[in-house]
């Protein structure tokens, strides 16, 4: 078998972005996931977001771990370098790559198994370091690629395809990320692109670690009655707390926003996100309040979505390291090495 590459045909009737590119130019190889898999919808949302932001595809580094979800970076941005790490270890690859070159966009795609089990430590530590990247967890409550075992995000009482009931409490990536000090935490649903695309855009423009937990049903192993990560269950218990409108730099804020219910937040590149609260009692800039809000709704078994916590002033990896603005890709052999060697050696004579 060899790689299937979609024909790149130019459809003159497709809209182009500021770079003159159509959404097609942001696509990748043909997906090999199951038809109806939530992950494919997220890929589509990513394509739309990157196109909408006029990002040069080759200025993106895309990466993932191992799993069905982790296969998806091959399905978008064919002109971007991509890397499939080992299972659960994409955050370290992202950290090293970002340390070496701060001047690219970083998109990491992971699964609930990849991030919350084998890679839980790396996930947590990438958050701690505030690596400037977009980090998506395509969350289906199971290990898709190894055929449907419960993952660490499976809810108590959720039934597997084989009939087992999960009794262990789930690890919630959203609560985890907020408590670890993540500076951008959102939850979306693969079935709601209208909400997801602006979230992805905002996450890409956020400086720091932007984590989006995207409920992404696995149609092969976790879409049955009794599963809490099925399409039907997600739709039934879906609770958008907040709508996020993403507004490009320099673009005018046109929509009429009701005062008190909206909250504009300026991102580092000058773009703005306007949060429209569906629930007035949620304040996404207050960490303790956000955790309390999420806990209350978790008890009510609701799936709260939207941009749930954001902090624009966090210092990222490079701010903390005081890294030079140029990338570190060039080997640094400048200066008079001979003189340096001489100076160093005087201490050892």
């Amino acid at each position: 078998m060899s790689y299937i590459r979609k024909p790149v045909a130019h459809h003159s009737n497709l809209p182009v972005n500021a770079l003159g590119l159509t959404e097609r130019d942001y696509e990748g190889g043909m997906s090999t996931l199951c038809a109806g898999c939530g992950h494919d919808s997220i890929t589509a949302a990513l394509i739309q977001a990157c196109w909408g932001l006029d990002i040069e595809p080759h200025k993106v580094a895309k990466m993932s771990g191992i799993g069905c979800s982790s296969k998806t970076p091959a399905y978008f941005l064919r002109e971007a370098h991509g890397i499939n790490a080992v299972h659960g270890r994409m955050p370290s690859i992202a950290t090293g790559a970002n340390a070496a070159n701060r001047n690219l966009y970083y998109i990491g795609v992971s699964g609930d198994g990849d991030s919350l089990s084998i890679g839980f430590g790396q996930f947590a530590h990438a958050i701690r370091r505030n690596v400037n990247m977009l980090y998506l967890i395509e969350n289906n409550g199971v290990y898709g690629l190894t055929k449907g075992q419960f993952s660490a995000s499976a809810d108590v009482g959720s039934r597997s395809k084989g009939g087992d009931i999960n009794e262990q409490p789930p690890i919630d990536p959203v609560l985890t990320a907020i408590s670890l000090g993540c500076t951008f935490v959102a939850r979306g649903f693969s079935g709601d692109k209208e909400q997801l695309v602006p979230l992805i855009k905002a996450g890409l423009q956020h400086r720091g670690f932007a984590m989006i937990d995207v409920i992404s049903p696995c149609v092969a192993f976790n879409n049955h009655e009794g599963s809490t990560k099925s399409y039907a269950h997600t739709r039934q218990f879906y609770h958008p707390a907040i709508h996020t409108d993403f507004i490009e730099p320099r673009a005018e804020i046109r929509a009429e926003y009701e005062r008190g219910k909206t909250m504009p937040i300026e991102l580092h590149d000058g773009s703005t996100i306007v949060l429209r609260k569906v629930d007035v009692d949620h304040d996404p800039t207050n960490r303790a309040a956000a955790i309390g809000y999420l806990e209350r709704h978790r008890e009510a078994e609701e799936i709260v979505t939207g941009l749930l916590y954001v902090e624009e002033e966090g210092r990222d990896l490079h701010a903390i390291n005081r890294t030079a603005t140029d990338s570190l890709v060039e080997a640094r052999v400048h200066g008079n090495q001979q003189a340096v060697l001489e100076e160093v050696q005087t201490q050892y004579r």
Binding site: M1, S2, Y3, E56, P57, H58, K59, A61, P73, A74, R78, E79, A80, H81, G82, I83, N84, A85, V86, R89, P91, S92, I93, A94, T95, G96, A97, N98, A99, A100, N101, N103, L104, G121, Q122, A124, H125, R129, H318, N321, R322, T323, A324, T325, D326, S327, L328, V329, E330, A331, R332, V333, G335, Q337, Q338, L341, V344, Q345, Y348, R349
Partner: protein, 614 residues
């Protein structure tokens, strides 16, 4: 004991965490400054305070900078280990102890000389607080030894001034006071100097005293490394500390911006992941670690091998298996490094013998890693990494340019006809071209540790998979001619028909690697003095080069000297060369102390005598 001028070993037994390390370093450096070659080795516990620790100093005008296997003077400061230390003194030698507390009943040998100095007593009289007293007791034995061994007090004072600087003149004075206390007491009560003594020479000119982690770090900076990731692990920790310090000084812009990033990872899995991420991005990146870290990194190392990402891994080996003895030395990871990762993997490994070579091979490792697009190991050990060695001054080629390997730049990618294909072999050397992220849309490809074809695409096709694996094997063959050749010394040369000198191989020879070197050299000299000449091949790299193969072929018996139990180097030679099994005789040392020349000498003679007996 007959007089031993500039040729003796002293050993200092103390308790760790009492400041004795700096006193011992002071002694070592004083001998060095007096122009006499000196070896200092620290046998310290995996502990912060309160456990026994030893420091061995060999004063060696002939330049045998290795363990002699003797203790001519023992400074027994630790009551807990007193009996053992007392027993270890070479007959005719001396034992210095703190006679504040008489221990007459402990002396059960009449073949050694006892020197009692009331160290605690004298410092307690002169210094007030408890901590100072503990520290100064060590400095006082330096003074006592200075008198006994005829060390120059002006040299000691000069070193103290360098250590504390002008701003801390008081500290210098206090230390000198303690030195003089010990010095005066010994002068008054014993005949000074002893038969053992140091006489000034000029044999250390052009040399430095330095540890191999510092030089390896310096090599990394000189090679232009910009990203380092690590997780603290003895004995590798000081390598990253040194790199950070060097870069802070020499790789920070005037505006205070760092042209480097050192990341303390959450574990070694992440550390190697970060290095591979940075290497994939195109930066020169490395991680220092030791055995336990190598074990953790295995999956990612295999990934780096198969996806062909440059990375440099320093394995400063310590005693395994498992946690083992973290502060003792061994060469126990030879195989773990050479074959790290599951599936068919083989890695370029470099084996420095001392800190000077650690500097050279550290820098070299970055070139090899990028030239061959693969993880490269610098396999050092605790002895090299943490002990201070006297080595010739380091030198650096002013014309050095990093070898970044086959990387297509934006212009080349502009001219590319058709899509970029990552794993082709256009030059038939097994080395493909690579591209870096962010440079050009035409350069994009997908890096994956899963099966891939030469085009870089996912594959489960039998032939496509195998083609890439075969090319990787070919790449390793190319590396064979590029890695550092062994250092070979022949005992005899004969002139050939063309008048040129050619080596005339001895029947028996030694093959070794890494920090065994100096012990092998001293053993060869001793054996030669007894009439046994042995050629010597010190392997400096894996894959083994043709020179190694030839050396193995031209000798009948090869003693393979290494510091592990399972003869890992010998195993690799059997697996990787054509040498016949019955030609190889192992000499193994693996108790955690650096190998001594006597270990080798005795083993060689033992074998030769047995052969004769048959």
């Amino acid at each position: 004991m007959p007089g031993r001028v500039n040729d003796f070993t002293l050993k200092i037994a103390t308790v760790n965490g009492t400041g004795s390390a700096s006193a011992n370093a002071l002694l070592t450096k004083a001998v060095f400054r007096m122009g006499v070659p000196v070896m200092g080795k620290n046998y310290f516990p995996s502990n912060i305070q309160g456990l026994p620790t030893w420091y061995e100093i060999r004063v060696t005008e002939p330049g045998h900078l290795t363990r002699s296997g003797h203790v001519h003077l023992m400074v027994a400061m630790n009551p807990e280990t007193f009996a053992k230390d007392h027993a270890e003194v070479t007959p005719g030698g001396y034992l210095l102890y703190d006679s504040t507390w008489p221990r007459v009943r402990d002396f059960n040998r009449d073949d050694i000389n006892i020197i009692g100095v009331p160290l605690a007593d004298m410092v307690n009289h002169h210094f007030a607080d408890a901590r100072t007293r503990i520290l100064m007791k060590n400095v006082a034995y330096v003074g006592a030894l200075a008198a006994l061994l005829d060390l120059d007090l002006a040299v000691i004072e000069g070193l103290l001034q360098e250590t504390f600087g002008e701003s801390k003149a008081k500290l210098v004075a206090a230390n000198m006071q303690a030195v003089e206390l010990g010095h005066a007491y010994v002068r008054e009560h014993f005949e000074c100097p002893l038969g053992l003594r140091v006489e000034e020479r000029d044999l250390t000119d052009g040399h430095i005293i330095i540890d191999g982690n510092t030089t390896a770090a310096l090599g990394a900076m000189f090679a232009g490394a910009t990203v380092g990731a690590w997780y603290p692990l003895t004995p590798s920790t000081s390598l990253m500390n040194a790199f950070s310090d060097f870069c802070e000084r020499y790789r920070t812009t005037e505006q205070g911006e760092r042209e480097f990033a050192v990341i303390q990872a959450e574990d070694e899995l992440a550390a190697i992941g970060m290095v591979l991420g940075a290497g994939w991005m195109g930066a020169r990146a490395f991680t220092p670690t030791s055995g336990p870290g190598i074990s953790l990194m295995n999956e990612f190392i295999g990934f780096g091998y198969y996806t062909e990402i440059p990375a440099v891994i320093f394995d400063v080996q310590r005693v395994g298996p498992s946690t083992g003895m973290p502060t003792r030395t061994q060469q126990g990871d030879l195989m773990a490094c050479a074959y790290a990762g599951h599936g068919d993997t083989r890695h370029i490994c470099l084996y420095p013998a001392d800190p000077a070579e650690a500097f050279e091979l550290s820098a070299r490792a970055f070139d090899l890693a990028e030239h061959f697009q693969t993880p490269v190991f610098v396999v050092s050990d605790l002895d090299i990494g943490m002990n201070e060695w006297m080595v010739p001054e380091l030198s650096w080629d002013a014309n050095y340019r990093p070898d970044r390997g086959k990387v297509l730049d934006a212009d080349e990618l502009d001219r590319l006809a058709g899509p970029f294909q990552r794993y082709m072999d256009p030059d038939r050397d097994g080395i493909p071209f690579r591209t870096l992220p962010g440079v050009h849309p035409a350069g994009a490809f997908f890096t994956r540790g899963s099966g891939h074809s030469k085009h870089g695409t996912y594959t489960e096709d039998a032939a496509e998979y195998q083609e890439v694996m075969d090319r990787l094997a070919c790449k390793f063959e190319t590396a064979r001619a590029h890695v550092p050749p062994p250092a070979i010394e022949y005992a005899y040369a004969a002139s050939g028909g063309d008048g040129r000198q050619r080596p005339r191989p001895t029947a028996c020879a030694i093959v070794s690697l890494g920090s065994c070197d100096l012990a092998v050299r001293e053993a060869r000299k001793a054996l030669k003095a007894g009439g046994t000449e042995l050629d010597y091949c010190r392997i400096r790299a894996f894959p083994f080069t043709d020179e190694v193969e030839r050396f193995l072929a031209e000798h009948e018996t090869l003693f393979v000297v290494e510091q592990n139990r399972d003869a890992q180097c010998k195993g690799m030679l059997l697996m990787e060369t054509d040498v016949a099994r019955d030609k190889l005789v192992s000499i193994l040392h693996y108790n955690g102390l650096p190998i001594a020349s006597t270990d080798i000498e005795e083993a060689v003679l033992g074998h030769l005598n047995r052969e004769e007996a048959i």
